[in-house]
Symmetry: C2
Subunit: 465 residues, 2 copies
């Protein structure tokens, strides 16, 4: 028998028990943004802590935060110089409204065919629990009493609330969380037929730009045409955010941008991208963006500036003939490696100041420090290990994606100084965040299988950092 | 004795009675936008109707409208082919809040020095009532039993509410209101030491432009950079409303604009304009507008485009990382002779359509038909008659102003086909619309005097239309 056959047999034999356990966990409505569910989030933490203990983890702790608790579990390798791996995910879930759109109650897990329906089935309880099955398969097949790598799990309880305490949690426990590589299991794969792993996430900087003109609204008949209108001037500046090739026109914005490599571009190009399907998800009729890049490259590998909102003067029905006293807008910049949020903030501020005309007072504020982008290059040994593990599990070529959004991985990478790789089994039609969230049950078992291989692959991966 | 000495003597002799009458009228709180004051507006109409009858007008009628009543008075000339003059003004007043800022109660008329304080003292009851005194002086001094012109007065009751029924009122009574010239007594003079008359008012077109992109808000991390953002595109279009010389950049916008004449420019230039005072009123730090024109020319004699409000996506605190589904703005265009509101609407619509990129659906709506500008050229005989009448009353040179705003005069001009001239005795520091509204009592008497001359001057003015 091959190792693969042994791993599959073990996982198959334990599949029913795995899904029974998962259903128990999914029945706990651990909605982190709902204050009335705080006890449930706590119960959810306790549940996964117990499950990890039953799986054999010698050390499992529930870590309090200023909000909801996280769970930390650790299973040291026998070898003192083994690679240390930190798995990241979360045990809290999204709200369920509009609950009337669910075919079965969100916290009564229901199997239909090969799918398990419940809030949290894919995001992220299913992907967390397969790690408990994976390490048991790894041990059973290798005959080890401890994993080939020093295994740590961090399962936070506030990811769906924006991880407000993750930074202080990670900094406060940096010694316990120290690792050589982070395995993120909170993202999605291309599709169930196209196994992929994610190589990076965009960072983000959020800005609020306010222009002030007259000290109060003044009549546009009496004064129109003879003083600066802050709303007009704001539009004139925001219109210059992009050039005619849809590139961000802020000086210095692209200075540190790592160009997409030909290899990555080729691999992205092999993904079965269907523009019509994508446009349906984007609720748009035409694709449009930076010239010279495909849609996937634009959302994954290129930085952007997007206006998120604007306000100023009259809104609503009717006319109000004023020159408004002020106008403002929020803009988010998505960043790619190796843009630095603080440098981008500086560039944005200087750009606004340079374009602000006399008679207008500009104010530029940023929402916190922003989030740095993460990118694990294709040649990275940790990514190689993940690729091999997935290829063994799926028996087919593994391709690469990135995420256009921004996530907590950057905190782990920055604080712990470790590269981030992804083992994720959620697929886009799993409706995470929406009604009728589900998970493909065979994929969760593939996830367990892939991770069982991954601990071997990472035991001697080459230079990780 | 000269005619002037006789007129002055008559007005002087009747001044106390005039102000006693005015105080009685000012005590009626005829606030047209306050539904609780409808009875008071009605009482105000009845009061001025009675006062005009007492002054000798042979025909006085209270005309109902869908809102508040107007008053019409008529005093035919003895000569059947006499010039017909329609005086326009209003008997309703602005609200009084914040009432605590008034030094004396707004509806308890109070004399301090040469000033009479009350809501409506200058806008517009004082300027209406002096017409009753003026016609009596005109008759007394000329020895006529009927005025030298066929005199009509229209005193509406909804001007401060935007004259919502004026158009239908004027159209419904067009035969009764037919005239050769309209004398508007609802505007302001430069200052009490600088007698002026107004030669025109700007017209207005109000537009609402909405851009629609994705059929619902979408996540700016997942889709940002790869679809059109309707807010960004709206800003890009609105930024092109003006060129770098602050001219409106809509093709055809200036096609019909009557350039200010050198004579008018010279006369405007002789007004004692103080930019610091003007900026204080504009609540602005610097003047800015179309290159090649002074501030007064910009607000009086040049057309403009002003953004009055904008909306779209997130507003308020915090970030919301979306590409908004739609964004919109309101814009008002102030027009000068001989721009046509419907042509401007057409030009605006075509301009927006031409600039709307693929993937964006643009919607352009206009608020009613707009208001046409009015302009009575400096050489017009009616303006000559007003100028001579004012010069006789003030014993000094009369200069010219215009109004940046838009008013009901355009309705009278358009429906009745008559030129509009202005005899106005309000001055900018009269605080009409604000707390402590007042009127300069000697100016009201000057107004009566000027109008007493004006009926003679207009008796044979030359070709009026």
């Amino acid at each position: 028998m091959t190792v693969e056959a042994d791993v599959r047999a073990f996982i198959q034999a334990n599949g029913d028990a795995f899904f029974a356990d998962l259903a128990e966990w999914l029945a706990i409505p651990s909605i982190s943004i709902d204050p009335d569910r705080a006890d449930d989030v706590r119960r959810s933490a306790d549940w996964i802590a117990g499950a990890l203990r039953r799986a054999g983890f010698p050390a499992v702790e529930v870590w309090p935060t200023a909000g909801h608790p996280a769970v930390f579990a650790e299973w040291p390798a026998a070898e003192p110089d083994a690679t240390t791996v930190l798995v990241y995910g979360h045990h809290d879930v999204q709200p369920v409204d509009p609950v009337e759109l669910w075919d079965t109650p969100p916290f009564e897990p229901t199997v239909r065919g090969e799918r398990l329906y419940a809030r949290g089935a894919s995001d992220d309880k299913g992907q967390m629990l397969f790690h408990a099955l994976a390490v048991r398969a790894h041990l059973a097949v290798t005959g080890r009493s401890a994993p080939a790598i020093h295994l740590k799990l961090l399962i936070e309880g506030e990811e769906e609330a924006g991880s407000p305490n993750l930074d202080s949690l990670v900094r406060g426990h940096a010694d316990r969380l120290a690792c050589d590589v982070v395995v993120n299991s909170d993202a999605s794969m291309w599709s169930k037929d196209v196994p992929t792993t994610c190589t990076g996430m965009r960072g983000v900087v959020g800005a609020r730009i306010v222009f002030r003109g007259p000290s109060s609204d003044v009549h546009s008949g009496s004064f129109g045409g003879a003083v600066r209108n802050p709303l007009t001037e704001l539009c004139r500046v925001l219109a210059r955010l992009h050039d005619d090739q849809a590139r961000v026109a802020i000086p210095g914005f692209y200075d540190r941008v790592a160009e997409i490599t030909e290899a990555e571009r080729d691999l992205f190009g092999r993904l079965p991208f269907d523009e019509r399907e994508w446009l349906a998800k984007a609720r748009s009729r035409v694709a449009y963006g930076e010239q010279g890049y495909t849609t996937l490259e634009r959302v994954w590998a290129r930085p952007t500036a997007e206006l998120n909102g604007i306000w100023g003067g009259h809104r609503g029905p009717g006319l109000n003939t004023i020159i408004p006293s002020e106008a403002g807008a929020t803009v988010t910049f998505r960043l790619v490696a190796h843009q630095e949020p603080l440098e981008i903030q500086h560039a944005v501020r200087r750009w606004v100041e340079d374009l602000t005309p006399p008679g207008i007072e500009a104010q530029v504020e940023f929402y916190a420090d922003g989030v740095r982008p993460i990118l694990t290059p294709l040649g990275h040994p940790a990514l190689g290990a993940v690729t091999r593990a997935l290829e063994r599990a799926f028996d087919r070529e593994v391709l690469y994606t990135r995420e256009g959004g921004s996530g907590p991985s950057a905190v782990l990478r920055d604080v712990l100084g470790a590269p981030v790789v992804f083992v994720v089994m959620t697929v886009p039609d799993d409706a995470y965040h929406g009604p009728n969230e589900k998970v493909e049950m065979p994929l969760l078992l593939k996830g367990a299988e892939a991770v069982a291989y991954l601990w071997d692959e990472l035991a001697s991966p080459g230079e990780l950092r």
